[in-house]
Symmetry: C2
Subunit: 312 residues, 2 copies
């Protein structure tokens, strides 16, 4: 193979996803394997081995590899050092230096949500934008910010931690982070289920949700679309808090567009429409009329972003 | 004069402040004159004339002028165009192009609060930082954000519009921007007086404030420091909302430090201490321990920032 390539790596708590990309953004090959999370030396060595093996398989000359971009679930400082990795165990090492030593390649790293943001900006629904906010709604709520085409890491790699924006003064339950009233308590898959259970308890209203034993976020969106009042109120409450949090983001960084991804976003435009409604209610006039889009790269956003990071 | 210099200009609704700076940040001369706000051609011509006159007076060779950095009270886009100027009248022109034509010099422009942020970063209490948030508490609440040493303008020049971050769901009064519950309704000089009047009405508590006919923000801070319960509750409420808004900023951009300026900030560390308290209550663990400082450049922050902008 004559053309230059780069690798994108997305380290997750369960699996590591990898992709080889042409420099103009074509995904040439992707694959994944379980994360050996016992310690970082194991999974970093696995990544190095996979790069070598895939290069042999695809007949990629080592000199044609521009580098490796890696997303990791935790804060990554600008110098490539990672702090504590709550979802992966361990932490406190320089992933760029260590993986570079193992591969002999240039390595750049960032937080996984920031990588997904970069990926959507490069080849996803954020294509053509320079200032973008990406929100991922899954088990938790993550976020990534791209300004002038570059991801924003912040002082301690914590920029874009949208899930822990404080949105409700009256919350009595405690968030995983120890605070009360974080966005994640409403707009994550578990948060949405929590809202529904509360509303079902507080109200006498009939609801198809009452017949379901283990309610999921998908059940709630399906019922909301079918006209279930409590389910719709649940979705509206989740989107209200997400819209308010996006309004805060808007007032602070004035982005061009918001892209919403993650498993929950599969519910579709019911989310973007409601979030945009509450966003517009809570920003100044000049910040209205921003784009709200659904992510399109799905689970591949992270590897796209990794590749884009090494090209920046 | 042999050394290179640059000009910093701060266009206000009442007066235009100007300064000549050495490239290492020494303020060589500063002066001000009334803003002829009837139309932009008048005040831009005034600025051009002042540059010429001051250059003659200080024997500055035109070739030694690096350029002119200008702050203006309104949104400025990255290309130097200004949108509507609420506090100045007019708008919708490219200030960089027009002033450059009049002076024959390189001109760069930004929002006045962003300029003050840059000024404090360069030669004020933000010296040494790269990621900084500046808040100015005056008649209104303004803000400016510096990331990686550069001011953040955003898509429409509205980045850092901290005064209109939504902080109180229960507010019934309407903010100047048309929304309800904006930070400016609590943390501006007028906002603080508004809180005090509310608390005085709602409570039977004795207060020295009851003896003052036209209460000012300064009266309230003085009384709070002297132990007046209602005055202290007022200050605490203003700082609570400011702390919450700063927590939002923290979660979103992860800055190194917050600098608080503007007339209200003359009340001193009572503000920074309380704001920091509520900030820390509302951010994730890794975002705590940030610096909260009072601005030190006062009304000169804008001209410093203008000069810094042209050097960037």
């Amino acid at each position: 193979m004559m053309n230059k390539v780069c690798f994108g790596v997305d380290i997750g708590g369960t699996a590591i996803k990898m992709g080889v990309f042409s420099l103009d953004g074509e995904l040439l090959s992707k694959w994944e394997f379980p994360t050996r999370r016992e310690n970082k030396d194991l999974y970093l060595q696995d990544i190095a081995n996979e790069i070598k093996q895939k290069s042999t398989e695809l007949k990629i000359d080592e000199n044609d590899i521009i580098g490796v971009g890696v997303g990791i679930p935790g804060p990554v400082k600008e110098d490539g050092s990672v702090l504590e990795l709550a979802n992966l165990g361990g932490g406190n090492f320089n992933i760029e230096q260590e993986l570079s030593k193992l591969t002999g390649l240039k390595v750049k790293a960032g937080n996984d949500a920031n990588m997904a943001a970069l990926g959507e900006l490069w080849q996803g629904s954020g294509k053509g934008y320079r200032h973008l906010v990406f929100v991922t709604l899954g088990t938790g709520v993550g976020g990534g910010i791209v300004l002038n085409g570059n991801m924003l890491a912040g002082t301690n790699g914590a920029a874009g931690e949208i899930g822990h924006i404080y949105v409700n003064e009256e919350e009595t339950d405690t968030c995983g982070c120890g605070k009360k009233g974080c966005l994640e308590q409403y707009a994550s898959a578990t948060g949405i289920v929590r809202i529904a259970k509360r509303l079902l308890q507080e109200s006498q209203e009939e609801s198809t949700l009452r017949t379901i034993e283990n309610i999921t976020a998908k059940d709630i969106f399906d019922a909301a679309k079918a006209g279930d009042v409590i389910a719709y109120a649940t979705v509206e409450q989740a989107c209200k808090y997400l819209g308010i949090a996006m309004a805060h983001v808007g007032q602070i960084i004035d982005p061009q567009a918001f892209v919403i991804g993650g498993g929950v976003s599969k519910a579709g435009t019911i989310i973007t429409d409601l979030v945009q409604k509450y966003y517009e209610m809570n920003v100044m006039e000049s910040l209205k009329k921003r784009e709200f889009k659904l992510a399109i790269l799905g689970n591949d956003a992270g590897i796209y972003g990794g590749a884009r990071l090494i090209l920046a």
